[in-house]
C-alpha cells in the first residue's frame, strides 16, 4: 500500500512525467487554436468594449453579431485551452 501511494508521485517528482512527443503535439495543437482565438477575441473585444462605451461607432446592422463573435472567440479560448491542459494533465501522470 505504501508502495502504491508513493510510486506515481515519485515518478512525477523526478521530471519523468510521461508526456511523449506525440502527446505534446496534441496539446500544443489545442493550445495554438486557443491562443489564435484569444488574439481574435481580444481585438474584437476591444472594438466591442469601445463601442459599448460610446467611444467608437461600429457599422450598424451588426449589433448582435459584434457581441456574439467576441464572446464566441473568448469561449473558444477557454474550451480549447481546457482540453489542452486536461489532456496534458491526464496523460502526464497516467500514461
Amino acid at each position: 500500500m505504501e508502495q502504491a501511494r508513493t510510486e506515481p508521485i515519485r515518478q512525477t517528482s523526478k521530471k519523468a512525467l510521461g508526456i511523449n512527443q506525440k502527446d505534446a503535439k496534441v496539446s500544443l495543437s489545442y493550445l495554438t487554436v486557443a491562443f489564435v482565438s484569444l488574439l481574435i477575441g481580444g481585438i474584437l473585444g476591444l472594438l466591442q468594449g469601445l463601442e459599448r462605451s460610446g467611444l467608437l461607432e461600429l457599422p450598424t446592422g451588426v449589433n448582435g453579431t459584434w457581441h456574439f463573435i467576441t464572446r464566441c472567440f473568448f469561449h473558444y479560448f477557454y474550451d480549447w485551452l481546457s482540453v489542452c491542459c486536461s489532456f496534458a494533465f491526464f496523460r502526464g501522470p497516467v500514461v
Partner: protein
C-alpha cells in the same frame, strides 16, 4: 482499437470544423442569436450543425480519456489515480454530462430552423441550455483549480493538501455542478417559487467545495511560507515567490475568486438576482471569475506548460514580461469588472450596444462607468498581445532545454486517498440523480403544460 491520442486528434478535427462553421455563420450575419441562442431567435441551420460538431469533438476527447483511465486502473490495481489525472477525469466527466442538455436542444433546433418542424418549445430549450451553460464555466474553473491544488504548492516549495480532501472536492464539484445553471432562470415565468427555492439551495451547495478550496489553499501557503522562515501572523506571505509569474498569475487568480465567489452567491439568491439579472453586474461577475480566476491561471500555466511541451526553457526575461503582463491584466480587469459591477447596480443592461435610450437621464448617468470599462478594455488588449507573443515565443523561439512539469508531493507520512474515491460509476449515478432531482419536474411541466410553440424568427 481506439487510443486516446487518436481520439484527441479526431476531437481536434471535429472541434476545428465546428468552430469554423459557427464563426463563419456569425460573420455572415446568419446567426446573430448571441451565445445563448434562445429560440425563437433562429439562426441558419449550419450554425447549429457547427455546434453539434463542436460537442462531438469534445466527446471524442472525453471517451479517449475514459478508455485511458480504465486501462490505467487495470494496470495499476489498488493504486489511487495521481491527483492531476483525477482532476482531468472530473473535467471530462462533467463536460460529457453537462453537454447532453445542449445537444438535445440543438438537435431539436436543426429541423426547426430548416422549416421541417413548425414550432419549438422555448422554455424547454432555454432550460436545456442552462443545464449546460453554467457547468461549462465550472469546467474551466475545475481546470484552474487543478493547478491551484497540485501545481502552485510545488512552485512555492510546499506540499499539496490532504489528498482525500482534494479528491472529495473534485467529486463534489462534479456531482453538484449541473443544476447550478438554473439560477439563470430565477426571474423566468412558468417555474414555481418552490422549484426556484430548491434550485437556490442546489446552486449554493457548490459554494461548499469552493470554500473548502479556499481553506486548503491558504493552509498550503501558510505552511510553505512558515517553512521558509516566515514569522508572525502574516509574515509567511512575504516568503512566497511573488516575482515568479508561474506563481503570481494563479495567486492573483485565486484572490480574485474571493469577490468572484461572493458575487456568485448574490447572483444565485432569489431576491438579489432580481436586482442584477441581465445587467452589467453579471458581465462584471464573469470578468472577475472567468477573466481573472480562470484566465490568469491559464496564463500562468503557459509559462511552464508551453516550454515543457515544446522542449524549451522559460528565461528570466520572459518571466519578467510575464509579471508585467500579469500586472497589466490585473489592472485592466479591476477597472473593467469594477465599473461593470457598479453600472449594473444602477441598472445598466448587458447584451446591448451603446445606447442612451433617447438621452434618458438614468441612462446618461451610466456613461462615466462605461468610459472606465472602455479604458479597461484597452489595457486588456495590450495584455492579450503580450500573452500571445509570450506563448508563441516560448513555443518556437525560446532557448532549447528541459523544463520541469511542477507537481507537488504529499506531506511526509500523509495517508493516501482511500480507494472509494475512484468509484466513478457511483459518482456518475449520483450526478444523474442530482440532475433528475433538479430537472425532471420543471422540464416535464414545460412539456405537459406546454403553450403552442414558437416559429423561427429573425429580428436582425
Amino acid at each position: 482499437m481506439f487510443n486516446v491520442r487518436k481520439l484527441a486528434w479526431v476531437g481536434f478535427a471535429f472541434m476545428l470544423t465546428g468552430t469554423a462553421l459557427v464563426a463563419v455563420m456569425i460573420i455572415l450575419n446568419e446567426a446573430s442569436v448571441l451565445y445563448t441562442f434562445y429560440p425563437p431567435l433562429a439562426a441558419h441551420p449550419f450554425f447549429y450543425v457547427g455546434l453539434v460538431l463542436l460537442v462531438l469533438g469534445i466527446w471524442a476527447c472525453c471517451f479517449g480519456v475514459f478508455i485511458n483511465y480504465s486501462h490505467w486502473r487495470k494496470a495499476h490495481r489498488g493504486q489511487p489515480t495521481p491527483l492531476l489525472a483525477f482532476f482531468a477525469m472530473g473535467v471530462f466527466v462533467l463536460w460529457f454530462f453537462a453537454s447532453i442538455g445542449i445537444t438535445i436542444e440543438v438537435l431539436t433546433l436543426i429541423p426547426w430552423s430548416m422549416g421541417l418542424v413548425e414550432t419549438t418549445n422555448v422554455m424547454v430549450g432555454r432550460t436545456l441550455f442552462w443545464w449546460f451553460g453554467h457547468s461549462l464555466v465550472n469546467i474551466w474553473y475545475l481546470v484552474a483549480a487543478s493547478v491551484w491544488y497540485v501545481v502552485v504548492p510545488k512552485l512555492i516549495g510546499g506540499r499539496h493538501f490532504n489528498e482525500k480532501l482534494i479528491k472529495l472536492v473534485v467529486i463534489l464539484l462534479v456531482i453538484l455542478n449541473i443544476p447550478g445553471g438554473f439560477h439563470h432562470q430565477i426571474v423566468d415565468p412558468g417555474i414555481s417559487l418552490s422549484i426556484k427555492y430548491l434550485h437556490v439551495f442546489m446552486s449554493l451547495a457548490i459554494a461548499v467545495p469552493s470554500l473548502m478550496t479556499a481553506f486548503a489553499m491558504f493552509a498550503v501557503f501558510e505552511r510553505a511560507g512558515r517553512r521558509l522562515g516566515g514569522k508572525g501572523l502574516l509574515g509567511w506571505l512575504k516568503k512566497l515567490p511573488w516575482g515568479d509569474v508561474r506563481f503570481l498569475a494563479p495567486m492573483i487568480a485565486m484572490i480574485a475568486f474571493i469577490p468572484g465567489g461572493a458575487g456568485g452567491i448574490v447572483n444565485t439568491s432569489n431576491q438579489l438576482n432580481q436586482v442584477i439579472h441581465n445587467t452589467l453586474w453579471v458581465v462584471g461577475h464573469f470578468h472577475v471569475t472567468v477573466g481573472m480566476s480562470v484566465v490568469m491561471t491559464f496564463f500562468g500555466i503557459c509559462y511552464w506548460l508551453v516550454p515543457y511541451l515544446a522542449k524549451r526553457r522559460l528565461t528570466a526575461k520572459m518571466n519578467r514580461l510575464g509579471v508585467i503582463q500579469t500586472i497589466i491584466w490585473t489592472v485592466g480587469m479591476v477597472l473593467m469588472a469594477g465599473s461593470q459591477h457598479a453600472a449594473g447596480l444602477l441598472g445598466d443592461p448587458r447584451r446591448t450596444s451603446f445606447t442612451t435610450y433617447g438621452d434618458h437621464s438614468t441612462a446618461l448617468s451610466w456613461i462615466p462607468y462605461e468610459y472606465v470599462m472602455g479604458m479597461g478594455a484597452v489595457l486588456l488588449l495590450i495584455g492579450v498581445l503580450i500573452q500571445v507573443y509570450a506563448v508563441f515565443h516560448m513555443m518556437f523561439f525560446a532557448p532549447k532545454g528541459e523544463t520541469e512539469f511542477p507537481v507537488a508531493e504529499a506531506e511526509d507520512g500523509a495517508a493516501p486517498a482511500p480507494m472509494w474515491t475512484e468509484r466513478w460509476g457511483l459518482w456518475i449515478v449520483l450526478l444523474l440523480m442530482v440532475v433528475a432531482m433538479a430537472y425532471v419536474v420543471p422540464i416535464m411541466d414545460f412539456i405537459l403544460n406546454a403553450p403552442p410553440g414558437s416559429p423561427p424568427i429573425k429580428t436582425w
